[in-house]
């Protein structure tokens, strides 16, 4: 069983609340949900929509064909009716009068009724959040306005619902990190908002300096003083930071960067998704210095990988970039809560106040003084390279790749980051195996082994040029000819991706 329901309306009408109420009730009833948010860069008006997918089996993506549409504005039907299945349902606001701001609650009520969930679950959820007559009345009216079409009986699953940003922020808290510096930029901002709300109860601080250059320099300064520090930004802000990332390479002050990418170049399509920033994550900053780039594909991975990033940065005095995007950051995923055993991040190095310590952006000698000496210049460069070797070894402890699907299949799909969910769903009934690459720097040697075992290789990326494909070719010498690339700012829909994969497999 799988349903895809589109909920659309103007910005400010409260469509997110509909998704939230319905998904929370469904989670409580043991159903898997995935919620995709699509919104333009404006605050009121325009056209926003969510696609809420519901299933009794794990799902991590949306599909293109709709089982139902909840429409709060004129544009919703005009834009999306063509994707509605023949037997699909439509919920419209026409029949409700004078509900004011509670209209969205009525529509949530109508949807709950169509799904065949009992009234009391709806009323309890609405009461928990809005304990007022008008909201409860709206929920009641909505519920009464429809007949049940499905019958979603309670399942035994004990799931939780989280988006990537929230989960990644929990990884920051797990790591007992001290400071988060950021300047507002979509789609990194939800992490800033989430952490800002949690700062006092968890003894850390969220600070917004005047621009991204100040953000990253303040972060290095604070880390030098002994704090565990992270910065967050999107591509444009990251560009501004890169000179200082390079300085990190020289000074070896621990630093974790959360890079949430969106379509570029330029201001691009700011509220949409893209994997176009892998190249800058890997190479942004002048000179040659080691770094780590990790790309989680699910909220749970985001939580764990942030913790690993803190651990590695502190242990090796290295830059860790955790790469995500709007799709992972802002989509809601359902999953079983896992027991988290975060790595302890201990600041063992000497810091100012305890001893005299220096960090010099020039090449420096054993006395921590600036030098232009040829021998020292070479020795320091060699040391930076050598450090990368120990990092590679350390990373063997962590999950740097992950395999899904049919383990013995000769058809290998390769991807990374937020396409993970759509790929898992797309291959669920195919003779295929999916290799998710979590550590993009350093790249695991197992990638080559997996590729050599396969007969057909297909690269899936949410970008124009297949950036992962390039680094794999650099690492293994193998060129992946079959590429499924999407670069319209929208994530893959698993049913359409499945067709594309099938097409590739037929060709070979």
């Amino acid at each position: 069983m799988r349903l895809n329901i589109l909920i659309g309306g103007e910005a400010g009408q409260g469509i997110n609340k509909i998704s939230e109420i319905v998904s929370e009730i469904l989670i409580d009833r043991g159903y898997y949900v995935f919620n995709y948010r699509d919104y333009p860069s404006l605050i009121r008006g325009g056209h926003n929509f969510n696609v809420l997918s519901i299933s009794d089996k794990p799902i991590f993506s949306t599909e293109s064909k709709l089982d139902g549409i909840v429409s709060m504005d004129r544009l919703t039907l005009i834009k999306h009716k063509k994707f509605l299945k023949k037997e699909g349902f439509i919920i419209e606001p026409g029949k409700f009068v004078n509900l004011g701001i509670n209209l969205n609650i009525a529509l949530a009520g109508a949807l709950i009724r169509i799904l065949g969930i009992e009234r009391n679950f709806l009323m309890k959820r609405v009461k928990d959040e809005f304990n007022n007559k008008k909201s409860l009345n709206a929920a009641e009216k909505g519920f009464e306005s429809e007949k049940f079409k499905y019958s979603l009986k309670k399942l035994k699953n004990k799931l939780i619902l989280k988006n990537g940003s929230e989960s990644l922020s929990l990884g920051f808290i797990d790591s007992k990190a001290d400071l988060y510096f950021a300047y507002p930029m979509t789609p990194a901002t939800p992490v800033m908002h989430f952490l800002a709300e949690k700062q006092l109860e968890n003894d850390f601080m969220v600070f917004q300096p005047e621009n991204e250059i100040a953000v990253v320099n303040a972060a290095l300064g604070a880390s030098f003083s002994g704090a565990r520090v992270m910065v967050g930004t999107s591509g444009g802000g990251y560009d501004l930071m890169t000179e200082t990332l390079s300085m990190q390479g020289m000074t070896e002050i621990p630093l974790v960067v959360y890079l949430a990418s969106r379509p570029g170049p330029g201001t691009g399509v700011p509220t949409y998704t893209s994997q176009g920033d892998l190249d800058i994550a890997l190479r942004g900053g002048h000179g040659e210095f080691p770094r780590i780039v990790i790309a989680p594909g699910t909220p749970l991975q985001a939580r764990q990988k942030i913790n690993e990033a803190f651990y590695l940065s502190e242990k090796f005095g290295i830059l860790s970039v955790v790469l995500s995007d709007k799709h992972l950051g802002e989509s809601d995923f359902s999953f079983f809560p896992e027991k988290i055993n975060p790595l302890k991040i201990k600041v063992k190095r000497k810091v100012p106040g305890e001893a005299i310590v220096k960090a010099i952006s020039y090449e420096s000698n054993s006395l921590n003084a600036t030098t232009e000496d040829a021998k020292v210049t070479k020795e320091n460069a060699d040391k930076r390279l050598l450090k990368y070797e120990s990092i590679k070894k350390e990373i063997e402890k962590f999950e740097s790749i992950k395999i899904y699907g049919k383990k013995n299949s000769k058809n290998l799909i390769i991807g990374w980051g937020s396409t993970t969910g759509a790929i898992i769903d797309a291959i669920s009934n195919l003779d295929a195996k999916f290799l998710q690459i979590l550590y993009l720097k350093p790249l695991s040697n197992e990638i080559r082994t997996e590729m050599q075992k396969a007969k057909n290789l297909i690269l899936v990326e949410n970008n124009l040029t297949g950036q992962l494909g390039r680094i794999i070719r650099e690492k293994t010498g193998i060129k992946i000819k079959n590429r499924i690339l999407k670069y319209d700012g929208r994530p893959f829909e698993s049913d359409l991706l499945k067709k594309e994969i099938e097409k590739c497999l037929k060709k070979n």
Binding site: K176, D178, L179, F181, Q199, L200, N202, D203, F204, M205, F207, P209, E210, N211, I213, A214, V215, N217, A218, A219, L220, G221, A222, S223, F224, S225, G226, A227, R228, V229, E243, T244, M247, T251, V347, V351, P352, G353, E354, A355, I356, V357, K358, A359, I360, S361, Y362, L367, A369, T370
Partner: protein, 281 residues
Amino acid sequence: MSEKKLRVDTANPITWCPGCTNFEILKSVKLAINNSIKKGEKLTNFAMVTGIGCHGKIIDYMNISGICSLHGRPLPTALGMKIGNPNLKVLVFEGDGDVYAEGISHFIHAGKFNSDITLLVHDNQSFSLTTGQSTPTSQKGYKSKAEPLGKFESPLNPIKLALASNATFVARTNARNFEFTAEIIEKAIKHKGFSFVEIIQDCIVFNKDINNRDKKMYKLPNKKRTKLEAMKLAEIYDYNLGKAKIPLGIFYEEKRKTLEELWPQLHNLQKKKINWKQMKK
């Protein structure tokens, strides 16, 4: 000052031009720090940040903790350093190119944030380490290899900008008078909040027209002033050549809650005299 070795000295060879007034600034800073240490401050509690330019070399000549940052970025680095441990005494060294050109946005915001840090600007009105191009404070008409036609516009007045940016301590000194400079630096360190000290200095190789201005300089009387009064005094000297007098001393000082006092997390670290590392979570 006696010539005996100070704890802040290092053995690194000094590579400033012989006769450069940076030697005087270095002396002033050491004297100010030494005096603070005599009054009970711990040497390890000092931390410095420098930018890139002639001034930046000072990090190699002082035995205190610090970061040699990137060009233009010492202020945010120092702000972070202070947020990273609000119990540190943070000194920021920048050149006029560093702070008034590349890092100008940070200068304005430093006044607004009012973090308890001290900014010392080595202002010789030229980019000397890159062979003498003009900076925002170079005088009108200044010719360099990059601008052989001369600089067309009038210079920026950092004292006025600092006042407009709500800096809570604004002063100007003369590098050649190291004892007076040390006295002002000591007061700037003691001031709670963002303190800005503009140190006027000669460049004996490039912008020579600005050298030997001592006769034009005079000391302002020590007194409390309104911002308007301070602004008027700041206008006396516009950084151009000419007969205008150059007032020195503290133009303006006010008490305002610091960033560290306002943020509960930082206030807590200050109260407990610990850094983040020592905080139990």
